[in-house]
Every structure is written in structure tokens, then in C-alpha cells.
Amino acid sequence: MNEKRSIWDYEDIVGRSLLEDLETLAEHIPGTVQHINATYSGGGVAEILSSMIPLFVGLGIETEWNVIRGDDDFFSVTKGFHNALHGRAEDSIAVCAEHTDVSVMDDIENQINELTTRKEMFETFLRWNRINAEEMELDSDYMIIHDPQPAALIDVKKRGKWVWRCHIDVSNPDPLVWNFLRDPVSKYDASVFSTPLFTRPDLGIRQFLVPPSIDPLSDKNIELSQGEIDSVLDKYGITQDKPIITQVSRFDRLKDLPGVIDAYKRVKKRMDCQLILAGGVAADDPEGMGVYREVMEKAEGDEDIHVLLGSPPFEDIEINAFQRASTVIMQKSLKEGFGLVVAEGLWKGKPVIGGATGGIPLQIINGVTGYLVHSSAGAAYKIANLLKNPELARTIGENGREHVRHNFLITRHLMDYLMLLISLDDPSGVIRL
């Protein structure tokens, strides 16, 4: 997994200056780098590392990418951690509500069972981290550990600088899980978060800010010819004779797909258009198929609503084609992580309408690169406005592309990592190379 790619492949996209600076800063990275996460494929972290590692190597920095292993129990535990950390407060409330009618003794018993389960989860987590620590060579000068799954590898740290790169929102976690995880995480030299909104005040180590990024040369974002776009749309029976509104997202309640259909229906009364809802169902989400069925039901009877379930998952080129064929892109999430799919849409020069949650407001500057909305009615109003005013849509799309060019491309991300590694040895506000 240690292929090499030249940063100069990106010259036409980002210009010479940034690339020259990357080369200069890379000369000041004195040692080896190792990234560790839980998987080589699937999910945003693997996607970013697939693009990032070859660029590190291309800059002459000896860089490895390794993944930890575990059994089904381990990954079930880490999925539970993910949900518990990722702001699932509403689930905790639902659980508490279920307990209101039970007796005090039953309640105590439930709590003991809950704690026993948690204890077993924590033991599974630590056991697999110990197994991986014994099997892996964790001796690079800079160790970058991604997300909670491998976080306890720090317990065997012997040398080097260790950074915990947290891609998820831990601002409102389940307290028991967070208290457990905080112990290993606070042993790191530094942590990295995607936005200030995702952080914790109780870590006790340096916290850096590094937003995620998209790779403009990946299949998901590379320029496509009209022929390539046409062939994907033909495959799914979508014509291009009327404007296309698209949301690419998992079939998940938090993506508010019914709200997107409501917005589309309001617009449809005023002007002809069509809607693409394209996504998959996460293997570990028992609700996903239920959401898909509800969406199908709501879309029934309207031939201009294309509900596309990617099973097997859509190829990246297909997602790219859906976005490029769109007139307006939606990401009307009720709750979101960083929501990089917004950056993907903006990079294609499309106006994006999104919910004001998670990382979306960092990408959509309201009225400049798209619109932030709080309701289906609000979304409908903005969609109609963009469909009626192609010049406005074009300007907003161009602004969005420039916003992504400067802030959310892999080359900026690489620069942030180099500066992070340089800063680990120097706490001052001005570092002179």
C-alpha cells in the first residue's frame, strides 16, 4: 500500500506555489511516518489515506500505511464505540425513557448488566489492541493513529511522536465510553480534529485542526467527458431533458431523504425537474433497509424520482457522473459528520444546498457557495431560485469550486500534515525553517 505519486500531477489544479512549498517543508521532516487505521478500503478515512500515502512517499518521506486486525467481536465493539462517541445522545435518552416504568431493583439489575457488557467490550478492545501491538512494528519517528479502533496501541509506545487523528465528532459522547478512551488518548503527543465543533475540552494534550479533503484526481472527482456521464445515466435510465436535483447519501434517517423528496415535490409543482437519490445501506445499520423502503414508498408514482440503491456499492465514477449531471446538489442532513460529499459537489461547480449541521457550514458559505437550509420549504425555495436563475447557479457553483480548491483538496491536507509534524517539536507560534 505504499505506492508513489508526484505532487506535480496536481499542478494544473492548485498551481506551482503550493507544490513548491510542499517540497520545501518535506525536506524538514527528519524521519519516517506510519499511518495506522482499521481498514484499507471503505469509508472516508481509507479514501483519504489511499490518496495521501502515495503523495507522502512521492515527497521522499518514508511512509507506511498499516491496518490493525480483529475478529467480528472487536469490530462490533468498535462500531459500538463509534456510535457512542459520535453524538448518539438521542439513543441514550431513548434507553433512559424505556427504564422509567421498571422497579428500582430491576433498574439496578439493568445497570449492572449494562456495566458488565461495557466491561467485556472494553476488554475485547484492549485485547485486540495488545495483539496488534505485538504483531506490528510501531517504531516510526511519527506515528499517526486514526480514530478510536487502534487508539490503545499507544500503550506500547517506546519512541517517536504519536498523534491521534480523530475523524469523528466526540463533542457529545457517551460518558462511560469516552472516559475509557480518554485514558489512552491522553498519552499521545497531540491530537487532530476536523473542526473545533468535534473536540473535547478534557484531553489534556495539544489539539490541532486539520479539515479532511477530497482528491480531485480520484475516480470520484476526476473530470468526466459528456460521453462518460451519458453512459452512466443511460445505465440507470435517467434522461437529461430536465434539470436534475441529486442527493448522494446512505439510506439513513439522519440524511433526511423524506425531507429532500418533500422539497422536490414543492419545486415540481412550479417547474419540471427530476430527483436522484443515490446511496447504499451500511452493513452495520439495521435501520438502513427500512429507510430505503420508506423512501421508495414516498417516491411511488413519480417517474421522475430515481431512488438508486447501490448494491453492490456504486462505482466512484458513477457517483461522479450523477453529481456532474446535476443542476443542484443536496445534502439535507439533520446531523452530519464533516459531510465531504458537499465538497465533492462544490468541486464539480454545482450549487449545493445543505443542512446547517456538522462540517457542512464550513463548506457551504451561505449565499456564496450554496445555501444552508433548515426545512423542506426552505430547500424548495432555494432549489427553485437556482433552477430559475442559471447565471446565479453558475456563479455560486464557481465560488464553491474555488472554495474547495483553496480549502478542501488533498494537497492542502498534505501541507497541514507536514506543518503538524514540524510543529510537534516546537510549541511556539512562529516556527522558522
Binding site: G15, R16, S17, E20, D21, T24, L25, H28, F193, P196, L197, T199, P201, L203, R206, Q207, F208, L209, V210, V368, N399, E402, H403, H406, N407, M415, D416, M419, L420, I422, S423, S428, G429, V430, I431, R432, L433
Partner: protein
């Protein structure tokens, strides 16, 4: 005249863990934080907005207007005369004075909800030499005109000037070796908030140098 090597900086961001939910908390934290935090929140928008001027030129103004709904105070903080506030301490004192005066004369009750707090972020500048070298002022003009590198402009005319002054002074001394006091005076007088973006600032710098050449060479 010795050759002049251009420097530049790239910036990255460290969270301080400090946040504010109302004006009192905001001003309290501003009094204590590192100067690189104040610098960040006053200037980083100039680096971020390459295509359109933001509604307010700094983070404090934007948050006070957008979250606390105190546009009059936001406007006062948007109108800082950064030519006079040429060191971080005077900048900090001015911001504190404006907010405290406002608090003393207005009934302010706005408080940010969860997720809308003002997060104090520190800006770390990584400064390094570029491969660009000028032998004389004509070179300087050509380099600035031909470069797409607005980060150098930001570094010399904003960051270096405010944070430690070293490289800006070096540029100034080098220009003054040519006895170009008038030119340096005009460059010193550049007002960063007056421009739509950094490219507009670059165009103004080119205009100043070309104007100087027109009159003197």
C-alpha cells in the same frame, strides 16, 4: 546592493480549548490568550476568502453579528484601523476597549447556544525562504506582478509586520538602501481591510511600485 531572498509562511491551526458563549466571556478570554490567537481571528479570513470579501472581515465581528445579534458592535470591530494597530498588544487592547465600551452602554443579553460558541484557535506560522531572489526594485516589481503566490503578500504585508516584524523590516531596510523612503512610506500605509481580497492588495502594491518608478526612474 545585496540580493534579497523572499520568505513566506504557511499557517496551520491549533485549538486552545477555550471558548466563549457571550460577550463577557469573549472579552475575558481575549485578555489572556496568546497573541497568535488574536492575530488568527483578526486576519485569517483574508487568507480564506480568495474570491469574495466576507460580510465582516474578522471572526469576532462575524460571530458577534451572526450569533449574538449585535451588528453595531460587529461593525465597530470591522472598522479597526490596522495601520495604527501595528503590534498584537495594541490590537488586543483596542478590541477589548471597543467591547467593554459597548458592554458599558448597551443592555446585552445574547448568549450562544450549544454548538454556536466562539472557539479560540491559535495560528502557527511556519516561515521559510523561497527560491525567489531579487537583485533590485525592478526585480521586486516583476516578481510580485508575475507571481500567483498571494501567501507571500500576506506574509510580508500582514503577518511578518504584525507578529515579529523581522522579515518586513528586512524588506524595508533593503528598499531603504535604495533611499526609497517615499516608496516604503506608501507600502507602510497599506490598509489590509480596505481590499476585497489579497489579489486586490497585490494589485495595489504593484500600482504603488510602478507609480514610484514612473516618478523617479
Amino acid at each position: 546592493m545585496a540580493d534579497f531572498t523572499f520568505y513566506k509562511a504557511r499557517y496551520h491551526f491549533e485549538l486552545t480549548g477555550l471558548k466563549a458563549r457571550d460577550l463577557l466571556e469573549l472579552v475575558g478570554v481575549i485578555k489572556d490568550v496568546d497573541e497568535s490567537v488574536v492575530f488568527n481571528h483578526i486576519y485569517h479570513a483574508l487568507l480564506d476568502y480568495h474570491f469574495l470579501p466576507p460580510e465582516y472581515p474578522n471572526d469576532f465581528s462575524y460571530w458577534i453579528a451572526d450569533v449574538l445579534h449585535e451588528p453595531a458592535l460587529a461593525e465597530r470591530l470591522a472598522d479597526l484601523d490596522l495601520r495604527e494597530l501595528n503590534d498584537p498588544e495594541s490590537l488586543r487592547k483596542k478590541i477589548i476597549k471597543i467591547i467593554e465600551e459597548y458592554l458599558a452602554t448597551h443592555d446585552v443579553s445574547g448568549r450562544a447556544g450549544i454548538g454556536q460558541e466562539f472557539h479560540f484557535v491559535r495560528c502557527i506560522s511556519v516561515v521559510f525562504p523561497t527560491k525567489t531572489v531579487a537583485r533590485d526594485l525592478t526585480d521586486v516589481l516583476e516578481i510580485i506582478k508575475g507571481s500567483d503566490d498571494l501567501d507571500s503578500i500576506f506574509y510580508y504585508f500582514i503577518a511578518s509586520r504584525l507578529l515579529d516584524g523581522g522579515h518586513y523590516r528586512a524588506l524595508s531596510d533593503w528598499v531603504l538602501e535604495k533611499d526609497s523612503h517615499e516608496l516604503m512610506g506608501k507600502l507602510d500605509n497599506l490598509y489590509p481591510y480596505g481590499f476585497a481580497n489579497l489579489n486586490a492588495m497585490k494589485i495595489e502594491i504593484v500600482k504603488i511600485i510602478e507609480g514610484y518608478f514612473w516618478e523617479h526612474l
